[in-house]
């Protein structure tokens, strides 16, 4: 039988199920005799003190190995000390004569309901903390021992309705192969914990507990979010093979991610990050990269209820710029179009949105959008090393017009007395064929450039990369692409200006080897590709890379190029 859920932490695992059912406390829904109230209040006081001791103990023991998890228990201590919450419980006991556990449950439920009404999702998460503290108080009220997941006798796959911070505080990490729950989403405590501990996890599995038995064998595929119960030998074999290759990949990452990106003969190639939101997860890679080759700014618009104001943008840009310090952050100005218009910016329907008023063209048509973004970026420039990058440039006119607007925004800010860095750079993407054919003319108009191989391939091949009907015509290894890169590399090298690759091919080790052979010394990619590219570089001398490039530019089809590279490099 197969179950499905939401995969929140990647990996594959096979093992026996451990069904975790913490005891739910039966609440005493009774009214006390007046003489019993004092004793009940005293008991509340004792239980609260015991809870505080337990929570402080957990926080202390977690402090050493898992400080982020430990912070959650500081928040639990705050909740326990919340005056109004405790007054509410006390009042229910003293004035309404409710039994203590009933009073606790009611007060906590009321406050959880209040938090659930707040707009901010981070605050709504606190309702889970309330539940956790409430459960602890009720357990202590009824004198039940804390039965945790601290002592598992063998490696197991954990299955539960939900896991609260208290359940996982002392989790025997080494013995948990995977985590399955009925509740919880990608931002829940369980998901964050699983990702942090690198344990595969699938959450939101409807009716999980009704369908599994303690001890049953299960195979979890947390790439696809499927769980096979009592898998066949064949299914097991396939999954174990995946598990082995995942492990090998993880090994490689551990070995190569932290090294300097040097070729076998000691030449440095700068590797950059492509980031989409500047989240903590993305920023965590900053010590493994030399720069940010692409900071996409669309996230500020995509799910926003209204156009992002200057302050909001400034805040986001400042956050990323200061995180990278001296390392350049290449901020790409707004790059959206009619194909995927955000809610806050309805755009007219076009017959050919990829050839339409998008990206920089849209910014020219909507100077309010463009100037707001530029103001935010230039204000943030004082916090780091800003490289502004213009997308969808199709002529030098575009570059000149944009630079004039940037200069005007800079002047505007200076007149307002707002500081702007003296050293930010302005560059453009090479993604239209028109630019790819005149890199020698383009180089005089920019401080730097970056080749967006995805869109460049699309426009060169005249094939919509999102249309499955023409997928075979969108060929990333087409000789035209490699020639375009070579042309640009030569022009920019001659002028002594930086050129990078920020499209998908930059993170493809096979293509990267060729680009390095063409003289490209900056490649930017998603964090997951860094280790593989570093590994490739370490095995290649610049002479070998040059030979590869020379051969590739003489081959006549994508198929030949792919076969050749695989034969030489894998």
């Amino acid at each position: 039988m197969t179950l499905t859920g939401n995969p929140v932490s990647p990996g594959v695992a096979v093992g026996p199920l451990y069904v975790y059912r913490p005891k739910t406390m039966a609440i005493t829904e009774a009214i006390l005799r007046p003489e019993a109230v004092e004793a009940e209040l005293a008991r509340l006081h004792d239980v609260k003190a015991a809870a505080a001791r337990e929570i402080r103990g957990i926080a202390r023991s977690l402090q050493a190995q898992d400080p982020r998890n430990a912070k959650i228990f500081d928040a639990h201590e705050d909740i326990l000390n919340d005056r109004i919450l405790m007054e509410e419980v006390t009042r229910a006991i003293r004035d309404e004569g409710r039994a203590g556990d009933w009073a606790i449950q009611m007060a906590f439920d009321r406050f959880a309901a209040m938090l659930n009404r707040v707009d901010n999702p981070v605050i709504r998460e606190r309702a889970a903390d309330l539940q956790d503290v409430c459960a602890r108080l009720l357990r202590l009220w009824h004198g039940v021992e804390e039965k945790g997941l601290a002592h598992l006798h063998q490696p197991v796959i954990l299955a539960a309705r939900d896991l609260l911070p208290s359940d996982t505080a002392a989790l025997d990490r080494g013995k948990v192969l995977a985590i399955l729950t009925e509740m919880g989403g990608a931002a829940s405590h369980t998901a964050i914990l699983a990702r942090g501990y690198r344990i595969p996890a699938v959450l939101g599995i409807a009716d999980l507990l009704a369908q599994v038995q303690h001890g049953d064998l299960a195979a979890v595929d947390a790439q696809t979010g499927t769980i096979l119960l009592s898998p066949t030998d064949q299914e097991l074999q396939a999954l174990r093979a995946r598990e082995a290759s995942d492990r090998a990949e993880a090994e490689r990452t551990r070995a190569f991610l932290p090294i300097k990106p040097l070729t076998a003969d000691g030449r440095m190639v700068e590797l950059g990050l492509n980031i989409g939101t500047g989240s903590d997860d993305e920023l965590a890679y900053r010590e493994y990269a030399d720069f940010v080759g692409l900071f996409r700014t669309e996230f500020l618009y995509m799910s926003a209820p209204a156009l992002p104001e200057e302050e909001r943008q400034y805040s986001a840009y400042r956050n990323v710029l200061s995180a990278f310090g001296e390392k350049p952050v290449t901020l790409r100005t707004l790059d959206i179009g009619g194909d995927k218009a955000p809610k806050c910016l309805p755009l007219p329907r076009e017959d050919n949105p990829f050839l339409g008023s998008r990206a920089l063209r849209l910014c020219f048509a909507r100077p309010d959008l463009f100037r707001t973004q530029l103001r935010a970026a230039l204000r943030a420039s004082v916090y780091g090393n800003l490289w502004l990058m213009l997308p969808m440039v199709s002529s030098l006119d575009d570059i000149r017009k944009a630079r004039a607007i940037i200069a005007s925004v800079h002047r505007e800010l200076t007149e307002e007395g707002i500081a702007v860095s003296e050293r930010y750079k302005v560059g453009a993407m090479i993604e239209t064929p028109s630019m790819a054919l005149i890199p020698d003319l383009m180089v005089d108009e920019v401080d730097f450039a970056s080749i967006g191989t995805n869109d460049l391939c699309q426009y060169l091949m005249a094939a919509d990369r999102l249309n499955p009907a023409v997928a075979e015509y969108y060929q990333l290894y087409h000789p035209a692409l490699f020639r375009a890169v070579e042309c640009s590399a030569n022009a920019f090298a001659a002028a002594g200006k930086p050129l990078s690759i920020c499209g998908e091919l930059g993170g493809d080790p096979l293509a990267a080897a060729v680009f390095v052979g063409m003289g490209i010394r900056k490649l930017s990619m998603g964090p997951a590709s860094l280790a593989a590219v570093k590994q490739m570089l370490s095995r290649l001398t610049t002479a070998q890379a040059r030979a590869l490039a020379q051969t590739v530019t003489g081959l006549s089809s994508a198929g030949e190029i792919e076969a050749y590279l695989k034969s030489k490099l894998i």
Binding site: I79, N81, V118, R126
Partner: protein, 89 residues
């Protein structure tokens, strides 16, 4: 009774860790302390982290802190200074 107004300056507003620092500081004082947006009527106990989180006071909100009790002046001044320090962010 003693009160003062101050604008919240740190990026995250009076949420998460700042709220925690704030209530822990408030609890050191004996007085009854309340906080709320200056341009509104709602005032909640500064010693209740849940009520403060429920209010959602963002960066840029001007708030009023009111204390009533023996150490009311100290309490308000201490909490105002705490908000002014930006909670070390």
């Amino acid at each position: 009774m003693y009160s003062q107004r101050i604008t919240i300056q740190n990026e995250a507003g009076l949420h998460a860790r700042p709220a925690s620092d704030f209530t822990r500081a408030a609890m050191k004082f004996q007085s009854d302390i309340k906080i709320g947006p200056a341009d509104g009527a709602a005032r909640v106990s500064a010693k209740s982290i849940l009520m403060i989180l429920g209010m959602g006071m963002d960066k840029g909100t001007e708030v009023e802190i009111i204390a009533e009790g023996e150490d009311e002046k100290e309490a308000v001044e201490h909490l105002v200074a705490l908000i002014q320090s930006g909670f070390g962010e």
